[in-house]
């Protein structure tokens, strides 16, 4: 009986000791956690506070992300428009170049012919006058010449070829001297036939004994118009 009581007491003491041990263990762990988390203010907050804070930040983040997306879209848009602008710029540039070429503001090169007219010393043969050049240039234009020059004076839409007093010739207002070299870019066969064919002016000039030679070439180089093109009254 006495032993039984003692046994019961021992188990009780041990159980109480274990419970005390567990209680203090958990308590000290909790103290430690609380102490350590007190260090920074964020961790000191209650979980609910943290949650609301987190929700705030999340919404802010989402807003900013949306803004970022929108901005990126805009940038993409700008990029595509700028690209298309570049394309149009390129097209316009090409057009401008072509226009300049046809206007005569650039040096051009291509298939064509060179007509050389030399003055003869023979007094009986008529000297070459401006009308000859004019007729030849007209014939070349009809034959589809894309660029023409006389002694490197480019013939443009407003060019003049005048014979002054049957003594000298002016092209583009500048005096030119023999020998006259007319260069034309175009289909060389057409250009040649336009001058030498039946009734062609070169043919007729040759018949009266003037010294005219035609040379076909794949690389005729025609210089640009040196003067300025001023438009004052065209609106």
């Amino acid at each position: 009986m006495k032993k039984n009581i003692k046994k019961g007491k021992i188990t009780m003491i041990i159980t109480i000791g274990i419970t005390c041990f567990i209680l203090v263990l958990v308590m000290s762990m909790q103290f430690k956690i609380v102490n350590q988390t007190d260090i920074t203010s964020i961790e000191n907050m209650r979980e609910a506070e943290l949650r609301t804070e987190f929700a705030n930040w999340k919404s802010k983040y989402e807003d900013i992300e949306q803004q970022y997306d929108e901005t990126m879209e805009k940038i993409e848009e700008y990029r595509t428009t700028s690209q298309s602008n570049e394309e149009t710029e390129k097209l316009v540039d090409e057009e401008l170049e072509q226009l300049n070429m046809s206007l005569g503001k650039t040096d051009v090169q291509g298939q064509g012919i060179e007509v050389t007219l030399r003055e003869t010393n023979n007094e009986e043969i008529a000297r070459i006058n401006g009308d000859d050049l004019l007729v030849i240039v007209n014939a070349l234009k009809i034959a589809g010449a894309e660029a023409i020059s006389i002694n490197d004076e480019r013939i443009i839409n407003m060019s003049d070829i005048v014979d002054i007093n049957e003594t000298f010739i002016k092209v583009n207002g500048k005096r030119i001297l023999a020998p006259y070299v007319i260069k034309a870019i175009g289909n060389s066969a057409y250009l040649e036939t336009a001058l030498t064919g039946n009734g062609g002016h070169v043919d007729e000039m040759k018949k009266i004994g003037q010294d005219v030679s035609i040379e076909k070439s794949n690389k005729v180089k025609i210089l640009k118009y040196e003067g300025e093109i001023n438009l004052k009254y065209i609106q």
Partner: protein, 122 residues
């Protein structure tokens, strides 16, 4: 004998608890509620000793059962988005105060009786 065991248990618990690795702050609310439940059980046990109806089985089951139940309720409250742990704290702390008042009355009565007896013997 019993006081020595309690003392040893407390010291051992404190030493081990201070050297145990940190538990995440998220679980500290569960631990806190378990501590409150366990303390309530302890004070309940002391009260029952005073009332002379202390039962070790009931004390131990109450000690662990209440703690585990409190933790489970807190978890359930978090899942339901209701602060059930507040209710648990109110109940446990309320009971703790009741038990403490019983203990206080018992000892005050005892002390008063002693002094009266002393007076009588004088």
């Amino acid at each position: 004998m019993i006081f020595i065991t309690i003392l040893i248990g407390c010291i051992l618990g404190a030493i081990i608890g201070m050297n145990v690795p940190m538990i995440s702050y998220t679980y500290s609310s569960y631990l806190a509620i378990a501590i409150i439940a366990a303390l309530d059980s302890v004070f309940g046990g002391i009260t029952s000793v005073i009332n002379k109806n202390f039962d070790l089985k009931i004390f131990v089951t109450g000690f662990f059962g209440n703690a585990i139940l409190a933790i489970l309720l807190t978890i359930l409250g978090q899942k339901l988005n209701v602060d059930i742990y507040l209710a648990a704290i109110v109940v446990f702390v309320g009971r703790m105060f009741v038990n403490l008042s019983i203990i206080r009355r018992y000892y005050v009565d005892k002390w008063l009786n002693k002094s009266q007896n002393k007076d009588k013997t004088k």
